[in-house]
Symmetry: D3
Subunit: 335 residues, 6 copies
């Protein structure tokens, strides 16, 4: 066992993960800085435990500007009762709390993208310390992991729940069962090409049943998108055998596949985007998805972003002003 592994996390929890009942508390991460020599980062969490049974780890705010998950989880945390469940539910509505409280994808402290920081380090940056705590303390005690994402301030998605194709097909099948239970309007089978540093990968490599979502974007939530998240998390807890009463509220879902790099369409020019199709629309190869007007002069024809293949528009760039290299559109394929 290496030195790094044996060094304890500097994070302490004010809750006892082994005690029955409902506990609202926080993780305290010492963070010495110019404006507070002995200050801390505080991450709120709730633990509900009732006897034996599986543990669900429910997380939002992995990226700090994605809101359907935090809404569903702050709501669940204040309403879930001990005797509603068998087993344990650990709710962390805002994993990367510094990013969440700043309303940014990454941490304002260290610019850390938490979902690229696993397995983390106990003596690293603040973001790496958070990753390390999930890696070594919370993921090991979980059976089922649901990590909420949305598009954030710069992307917008069709609302979907997803899991990854993994080597262990039993693990994979259980994950897709939960995706189906979640009941988002769309469901996606994902194959990550570069999964290094992801929370997903950390969980899957430990053999956990892991599902995730993209439920909208733009740095906001709607009544509709929030309701998908709230219904989804209860469905998942029911399907996992943790929530005792009620039944999974089944919804139709369409299954999609994001197969390869030709799904992604990048801007080659800076400018003002005029979208020509909206999320959910079907496009044909060669069709113009968006125009990009140069903004410094009038009378110039816009650049055109054309579909590289047939597909459904599953994601798009959100802000209307773009830079070269921004991802403008993503297509997926109905299964």
């Amino acid at each position: 066992m290496s030195a790094v592994e044996t060094r304890p996390s500097p994070i302490t929890a004010t809750v006892d993960f082994t005690a029955d009942g409902v506990q609202h508390g926080h993780l305290r991460l010492p963070y010495s800085r110019d404006d507070s020599a002995w200050g801390s980062v505080i991450i709120p969490l709730t633990v509900v435990k009732n006897g034996e049974g599986p543990t669900a780890l429910l997380t939002g705010g992995n990226h700090g500007d994605e809101y359907e998950g935090p809404i569903a989880l702050f709501d669940l945390a204040r309403s879930l009762k001990q005797h509603d469940i068998s087993g344990r539910v650990i709710i962390v509505p805002a994993m990367n709390y510094p990013a969440f409280s700043a309303g940014t994808r990454t941490s304002p402290i260290d610019k850390g993208n938490l979902n690229r920081s696993f397995p983390g380090a106990p003596d690293g940056t603040v973001t790496q310390k958070i990753a390390d705590y999930f890696q070594r303390v919370l993921l090991p005690i979980a059976d089922v992991v649901l990590d909420f994402h949305s598009g954030g301030k710069t992307l917008d998605f069709l609302p979907f729940c997803a899991a990854h194709l993994v080597h262990n097909k039993v693990q994979e099948a259980r994950s897709f069962d939960l995706v189906k239970a979640f009941g988002a309007p769309w469901s996606v089978k994902m194959l990550e090409i570069d999964a290094v540093g992801m929370y997903d990968t950390a969980a899957e490599e430990m053999g956990k049943v892991f599902i995730t979502t993209e439920l909208g974007g733009g740095g906001t939530a709607t009544a509709l998108s929030a309701s998908i998240a709230k219904r989804g998390v209860r469905n998942v807890l029911l399907a996992a055998g943790i929530l005792k009463s009620g039944t999974v509220e089944v919804r139709d879902t369409k299954w999609l596949d994001m197969s390869d790099s030709t799904c992604f369409h990048f801007a080659s020019e800076a400018g003002l985007v005029e979208p020509l199709v909206d999320l959910g629309a079907s496009v044909r190869r060669g069709e113009t998805i968006a125009s990009i007007f140069p903004i410094g002069q009038t009378g110039v024809p816009p650049a055109e972003v054309r579909a590289q293949q047939d597909g459904i528009l599953i994601a798009r760039h959100f802000p209307s002003i773009v830079k070269p290299g921004d991802c403008i559109a993503v297509l997926a394929f109905e299964l």
Copy 2:
């Protein structure tokens, strides 16, 4: 005549507003600064003129993070031909170009909100100089003014076209005729309580026919919202007798009224907003429109924003994290 009135604007145009034809050019505003002692602010514009006839002044980017107008106007500027029209069309897709190119409501140079800077000043800030140029050069030569707005990065609106109730009822009637011609899904009769400094007021006080819009928000445009803007501007040019061929593409519209200060609902707490109704929904007085969760701890009930009267949700705060005093929701009343 006062000293201020006689001092000429420092802005020069590279186009001749009196010449027939299509001219693409810019306004050049000298702007000396640390990183360019003899630098300028450049504002692109297009003038299309064909003989005699009324002048339409079409503007977007009054607030820099509102995009349906700029999209429609960059598109119109590159496609409108001299012989399509009788009279003159002046197109300024991004009035407050420094704000527009930064993607912000106000100017990054001086934090100026152009729509609160009228009548402006030739020796004031950059934003005041822009206002002064419109006040003394462009508005006086216009007959019809269409100024595009949307919600920007922090608000989201039902798509509507609007005009103000003004003293001159002939002027008012002609304005509402154009609102109807614009053909947005919703149309609004507005009574500004504090109209000081607005471009609207400057135009109306000169007796111009003036209409405006709110066509979405969040700092983006969709294919749908952009198409409303593009159709609307052509309808207006047709109705104004400038665009020669084609007919107004009539659409159903619902008329709304934003009557008094009880329409506006403000947050009294900081936190994470869960919207409970979406734009366009009808609510009853006392109904909860949104919940606001404190983000620093779990297990706490959210504050509730309740409808102060019956109405339709016409606007809402866009980012999910709010501060006390932010406007969370606006209700309007169907006429």
Copy 3:
């Protein structure tokens, strides 16, 4: 009456200043900005009223980094009951709330020093709008005004209460009676040389009884300095005949005079300050009050700040690193 006078303040209060009872509410100042198009600045306040009687206006946070006043006023606001008083008490613990919440002397919004912004303007900056509201709404309904100051992050003071020498000697006498009642360890008779823009001046020119304090500094409060503020405000309310039960808790105080510009000692060099006497000490003309070491090299003798006359050290620069022109020390004279 000029246009400016007739334009109403944009600030609205959620309390009714004419109603009996205890009301906790806030002032709402519309503040449109890039991150909240329809946002506001919120200033908390409490009004306690019981029948007829004089009105005391109690304010802290005129400068945002001075804390004894806000502590005493937040404490008073939550504990004062309707029937404790005859008349009215208006408590604004943090006048320049944007500065107070940022922990800075001036407003982070517009760099406004509220105490140099009177009489303010309803269409000016945020700080000017706050000044205007006090000038035209709150000061006119007050009889007695107590405005708390301390040294803030960059100065430290002996704890004193003070009033100004004014033309109206009845007004002046009543003010010094309240200074005496306040009961700080030190009391000061002040003659402002440049009183333009001050809240003090605004109040005094309306004939109000006005007292102020300096109760410490450095951007903190101690148990001792906070207790001086808490006792002082109750003593003043008793002496003003508003607080009904209890008696003024009399304390010894030493009276000081800050007569002329030779009281002020400025650094002529940048460097690290070594104080050679502490607050309250007596110094003789020519005595070294502080040394200033240049920090870029060792082995160099420090510059010396010498007393320009005999006196008591009543104030000093707080941070140890200074720039040329910083006020290093202020002497006063015992009366």
Copy 4:
């Protein structure tokens, strides 16, 4: 020997540590950056050497906003003469000079906390390069190390000198002898729980006699606290047998112990702190040490920070506005 160990430090000294006499010079650390491609960081230092004898390494400015040490050391550097001593005194008044000249705890260049950066690295950040130079050049030639600390801008301490409990009891006893000689009003026996990266640990692991201080705080020094530092360093040089004439100026000191994590009291809420006891006061378990008022509204009771055990208030948060997780108070126990 690893590659890192053999790579020389990029820092060069303008003094010769082996030469007798008084030398004032600096360490030059090449620092290429946008505003000076071939620029440097300069750290002033003084070396006084007279024949054979022990070497004392005297340091301040390890944290850049702590001033008693730098004052005492700039003063000592300009006054110490060759023939005052036997042996060698190396004086570095501002170890982390970039932080010191900015008046911040950590370096403005890389946000490095020097006292968590040991052993450093010759090819790391600027702060790591400084640590590496002390680790590999200065500490190895020292016998006695005195590192001055104070509370900095965000903490305030009772004035004390301290040493650590270490495995080598001879080393420990010699260190506590110097603590006693220093003669601060309070003396502390410390057991670091997490000593990784500290200068203290680096020195102690080399077997050096190491003492440190906390002599006040808030980002300032007083005449009193500076005099404690100045007397202390001379006492230590006398006790170490380096300063030849004079005798240790003995002062009473009270011995304290900071035993465990219950000494530390953290804020669970943001707000305005009202301290209820001052430094040096004795408190009983359960007693309220401080109140924390929420600042956004009046009329709300403050949160209370209660003593977790009996003790003496040895440290407190300095700025009056706090965030959740800030250390509000530290208790110690008289031995």
Copy 5:
């Protein structure tokens, strides 16, 4: 006399302008701010006076990033002796000292361009207070004014001395006599089109003999350009009859005229500038002066900046990356 005129400047001088001898001192401008509540801006100056005679006011650092003037004036200030002169020399090497010490054209405090801030205001911004002091205190006591400029960080000029064409032809002739005496390689007759707010105009309107320079640029000085400034100022003092011994060191100069707005060539595109001619070169109308490459892609022909008329390249943009509206080149005409 208006209220503004009678309000005294807040600036105090540590020198006595009426006393014979050499005095080195400073102007102190009180500047209250977050990091120094009772801080100041300090502007160094030297006054040399010897009996009766004319007064020369010599200024540099009107723009903070122009260095030939400050070099010549710091040098003159330390070397000029009382008995070298008859009359008085007032030397202010860095008028806008906040800008000068920051190395920026405008003040970092308020973004004030001092040379557009006249006549200033005693209760305005820091820059306006400086302008007011020159307007009401220093200019009135001067007979001859020499204000040094160079191109600063963003422009580069042929080295020239200049005066304006003014209504009073006696005043004009005396000014051009001093331009000739200055002896720069080039001399320019200027007609300001928009002279509002300039120090030049303020001086000229008081009837002062006023000359100025442009002596290079780019934010640096060379040994050559500094020597032109040093020789020029001595020549001017000799020609003005103030410096008693020595003779004007006559140099050949070429006279130029900057007649109209076609002299100025602006970039219409952003990009990387390739200059095709250097300062001092003659160009023919239509000749390409510079190319501007777009930087985001290769293989694209650059935009071309063509001479609008025949002339000599007298000034050019300095940094190689430009924005639309930047002045790329200025042509002048040999007389």
Copy 6:
């Protein structure tokens, strides 16, 4: 082979390095950030290939504020035709494109100095990813490497081309042949003392023929300096046998040597620099090269920077305001 070596670069090229013809494209480096979750850094490049033959890798913008290289390479990229050459030319005008587009030496994203970042890392910072791509993709396919440098915004150089003394004398001789062919006015034989992390070292260790330049500085280019770069790159391609027609345009060059650390002269004081000699001048040991005036006061003699040996001034600090430790001057020796 380690994990790091086998992990592919995240950078993709839009060009095919093995295809004949002229291709203009870019490198795309995925860069997820707050303002574009799926954004990229784009680096433009051109590949010209014609059959078999050597490959020249031509680079500019290694430091982002050095312009002669980018000008010559953008010009070459748009003009070089397939049939002009035998072999292949890879042109990257702006290696560190984020730095280049910001006009800064280092990357605004991560403050990375690309020329100290080799060999880079595929999972490091953006700058490290760029280094890694050159290390593992571009350098291995090159035979001849020409990397353009100039002094940037803070240094100014005599225009020279240079190569390093390396162990392989064949490689060294071929490099100096190309230096001679380049034909700059000056040519330099360099011995890097600390070559760790340099692109030069990476290329040389692979056995590549490597030459570099310093062609001016100050953050600009002149017509003269740009022409040296344009002629030089064509001469090098001719001498390398890649450019088919034309002959090397031979120019006289003077050979210089920068032998040891005494060449470098650093400021010991902050202040305003008066240069006393210009680039190319010969100085004698002890001669004053520059004076440094303290700026906070007049009447003080300047510090002097004296030549540490005889030599030619080959480089100097560019901005006139300096800090202690800035390199003021560099001398070289004629061979």
